[in-house]
Amino acid sequence: MSDASYAIGIDLGTTHCALSFVDLDLSEGEEVAQHVLRVPQVTSPGNVEELDLLPSFLYLPKGGELAEDALALPWDARPSFGVGEVARGLGVKTPIRVVASAKSWLCHGGVDRRAPILPPNAPEEVTQVSPLQASILYLEHLRDAWNAKHPDAPLEEQEVVITVPASFDPAARELTAEAAREAGLEDMVLLEEPQAALYSWLQSTDGAWREQVKPGDVILVVDVGGGTTDLSLIAVAEKEGALELHRVAVGDHILLGGDNMDLALAMTVRAKLEKDGKKLDGWQLGALTHGCRAAKEKILADAEIDSVPIVVPSRGSKLVGGSIRTELTREEVTGILVEGFFPKVEASDRPKSRARGALTQLGLPYAQDAGITRHLAAFLAKQVGATEELEGFSLPEGATFLHPTAILFNGGVFNSSLLADRVADVIGAWLEAEGAERARVLDGASLDVAVARGAAYYAYVRRGKGVRIRGGTAQAYYVGVEAAMPAVPGMEPPITAMCVAPFGIEEGTECDPAPQELGLVVGEPVSFRFFGSSVRRDDRVGTMLERWDDDALEELPEIQATLPAEGKTPGDVVPVRLQARVTEVGTLRLEAIPREGGQRWKVELDVRE
């Protein structure tokens, strides 16, 4: 830890990765020498360029499809796959060979995340990879890019922080940590992305943040990335005269981001074109999406502009005449983007959920309601009690949701002040309706690299050189225990949820073993139902819940323990107790401790199907 020359933050994003670093020798206190790594990557076959961002795309070419060294990198003459810009570019025209959104698959409990399933629906001939493998490849690319430029300070020996969505469940966090270990980053730690955004803001104020927030403030971080929307609440408390930051709540996993918005615009424009009898293929839809993004940004940036022309180029070499001209109007942007994704809703509105149908054929559990403001309303209402345990926070009588006093926006979507203003207005209206003041907006740098920068800053302050956000686990965890009662045909036996890890355990802390014993069958994997709660803050290890509100406990993917048969009779039932620990890395670890023998068996959070 002390040998490191750099504190490094890696944003392992759904659509982009970025690496930022702090030079420890040149940094002192809040004076930080920080940079973003220009990542060498193949940008088109045979060409290598350095970019600030590494698109999180992986292309799996057919042998002979590309020239022999078309994917050559400074550190690898013959890679068998392409990572970054080249993968994104090739993937537009050959989607069956491109892996995208691997991160969203990594936190998809419904699939085996170690199984080669990407790209989904790929023909047999394509050698698929697992979501875990794709994450490893992105990290390895960043590692090799760093090491090529810093041969004397290899990434493996630096202090590395990797960000994950606050809403990542324990299994997804563990998989991210595993990917990092596979990439040789043994000593890295995880940080939640909204916290990274706040660190980035703290750093950007050059120490003036202490004047911009005060004890009693509740900061709502709204982080809308390319593929996910991540919400967190951070309370500002005071202890012995110094300001303290507590991350008191995080939102549910919402698979909805900026890319969905651009796609929604493109679909609308495509429908308009199809009405005129003009058909677009997949590549042209990609070009249209790109055009819509640029046009949207122009419209959002300038209130005078009513429409922006978009041209979808022809695929063939005849550009004039073969291209399709259309336009994106302000009305469409307002209707789809502002009203569609950020509608004016009441604080009592909730996201609509509808039965999953053919729409989910892609396999990813995309958010069913695109209204981010409705997700916000649900989040704030669910977390109305988030600050109860902290001193100096009080909500007015009858408050129906937690009142944020400040908002920090993050993500490229909010480069448009129109959208940030809309969110601030909607929340402001909710607050005013309950007699509270509007929340002020913290001037954040909603840059593409803010999360990576914040992570690097955190890697730096972890050395004891600045304010840290206190957090711990944002959920309490429960294992489902079947009640001992006679089986009733056609009915599942009722289960009791036993708390194994309370809310808010800090990194590097071990809980007591749960007092109740469970029976494990020797030599056979035994599965348990697993639950998390982001609202039950008072449960202790061993608390048994016989019933609960649907809202309070969320079922997570099953967990599994296998007791090896060595020295025991297979089929025997051995009583074990479960013990939870939050590792230094920031992952949850569950272990089964048999009554005798002093051994411990790891309980797998990520179960192979």
Partner: protein, 197 residues
């Protein structure tokens, strides 16, 4: 000349002294030139590898400021490739637009403009040479950089000149072209595409 045939060591000393005088004394150097061109020739200095001073002397005498620059085709081809990839530049320029509708040309021009601009922005840092607005009256001082400022029209008299800025000029501050893999053929500006169904 009192001593027509100096000894070797005397010659060595003479050559040594002459070397520095040729270098630093313009009049003396002119004399040497005259001597070499028409007057009684000095005996050529001995070719001895270890006698470095003499070798250097020869170099100085032969120095002729002829600079020939030949740009390799690779960078140019790379740029064409970039402009084509981002802005369909070659497609557009190679197309016969004589009969085409202006609206269609306009639509295509948007693709070319947006893409080529992106390619330029990403690989070149380009800034105007002159900070003033076009149309303003500007001064051109003595000793101006004739590469960067072109005087036009009534070019008479002595600097400082005063005139109207008709074009601000462009200067490329930095270039960052992609690096190419060994086997990459930059002559392929855009590959032919065959879609398999």
């Amino acid at each position: 000349m009192s001593d027509p045939k100096p000894s070797f060591f005397a010659r060595l000393f003479l050559a040594w002294a002459a070397y520095f005088r040729t270098l630093f004394d313009a009049d003396f150097a002119a004399g040497v030139v005259r001597l070499r061109e028409g007057g009684p020739a000095l005996p050529p200095p001995k070719e001895e590898p270890e006698e470095k001073p003499k070798k250097k002397k020869k170099k100085v005498e032969k120095k002729e400021p002829t600079v020939l620059k030949a740009a390799g085709p690779e960078a140019a081809l790379q740029l064409l490739g970039l402009l084509q990839r981002e802005g369909r530049f070659v497609d557009f320029v190679r197309e016969d637009i004589a009969e085409a509708d202006d609206a269609d040309i306009g639509a295509a021009a948007r693709v070319v403009h947006e893409g080529c601009r992106k390619a330029l922005d990403e690989h070149f840092e380009i800034a105007p040479i002159h900070a003033s607005e076009e149309g303003e009256t500007v001064k051109v001082e003595e000793g101006f950089d004739a590469h960067a400022i072109r005087l036009t029209g009534n070019v008479v008299g002595d600097p400082p000149f005063s005139g109207e800025l008709t074009h601000r000029g462009w200067r490329c501050e930095s270039v960052e072209l992609p690096k190419m893999s060994e086997g990459h053929d930059p002559h392929v500006i855009a590959p032919a595409e065959v879609e398999l169904s």
